[in-house]
């Protein structure tokens, strides 16, 4: 349903053990709230990303529930402490059942 969805992630390539790094994520998505009407007055069905998660080596870092008031192309910036080399896995869940994924590895 949603078209042109493309996840983007920015994670440093390396860090020292225990360092706190900043992670930026962005996904292009219309985030149609379901509150709007088209030119004929019919409601436009809701179509949003409703959940975003980030895991590091299988351990959850954040898990975000998202609501219709969030604007288009949701951007998240958060910090994480890196204990060891590994892979950050990012997952976005769409209302229509689609799941978008991205992953970035980091070496310590």
């Amino acid at each position: 349903m949603a078209s042109g969805v493309k996840p983007r992630v920015k994670v440093p390539k390396s860090a020292t053990a225990g360092e706190t790094i900043t992670i930026k994520t962005l996904i292009s998505h219309t985030m149609e709230s379901g509150q709007r009407k088209d030119s004929d007055g019919n409601p436009i069905p809701r179509s949003i990303i409703n959940r975003f998660t980030c895991d590091f080596n299988g351990q959850n870092v954040i898990d975000v529930k998202m609501e219709p008031a969030i604007s288009t192309n949701p951007y998240f910036e958060f910090q994480a402490t890196v204990p060891e080399s590994g892979e950050f896995k990012f997952t976005w869940y769409d209302d229509d059942g689609s799941v978008y994924e991205d992953a970035k590895s980091i070496s310590v």
Partner: protein, 283 residues
Amino acid sequence: MKKTVMRTASALALAGLAATAALADESADLIINGEIEITIRAAAPAHMENVDEIFSGWLFRADETQVMEMDDFDNPGMIFAENGLESWDAVEGTEGKSCASCHGAIEEMAGVKAVYPKWNEAAGEVRTIQLQVNDCRENRMGAEPWKVDSGSALNMEAALAAVSRGMPVNVAIDGPAQSTWELGKEIYYTRFGQLEMACANCHEDNYGNMIRADHLSQGQINGFPAYRLKNAKLNGVQGRFRGCVRDTMAETFATNSPEFIALELYVASRGNGLSVEGPSVRN
């Protein structure tokens, strides 16, 4: 991995402020991605009689808006430029060509955005970059032209602007373009609407002052297409002109009308010397 801090849009602004606490609004410098130096203040071009120094609209924006433009990842306009890059490589039309078939990589077009609007000898008219793209689409690709200021057209303009960032705007105002430029200048200084306001009343006489809650810029268009936070999409120059003229309570010229093409050339020439900055981030 235990401690995580969540930051969403509102907290992002705080993060931006913290990172640039040293930046004062008017003395900041713009370096994108830590490498592309943008000229945001320059001596006014010789044809400007009433202004000594020209400033990019970036200088007039709040700190957190400024910061968004300093990194391509944080600049939401780059999403649109990336879409434009995709259509650069996409084959369309009856000739089986893409933009890249003739022009090669989009980086080959560096500097092109800086000289538009530009006189086209064959057509005998001044053309905006969008019209030139459409000429290619119709005559070389056999594809449908894009509507001026439509999403696809602005995406392409943004992609073309992005590869020219840092290069000085240098539109020609003499020779065959002169009469168009003079029409643009006349419009710039003509009072329109029930409020009887000319472009110059705000952007020349009062830049730096507040118009209600908004900090008036010089109305430079070196940063277009501009991603505006208020509507979360790219905005074209002529769309912005329409907004301004509408706010004077006037009937606006149409997008792509000869008047607005002339005005686009004239306003672009007022920015000769500033860097191409699009896609920029504005409020």
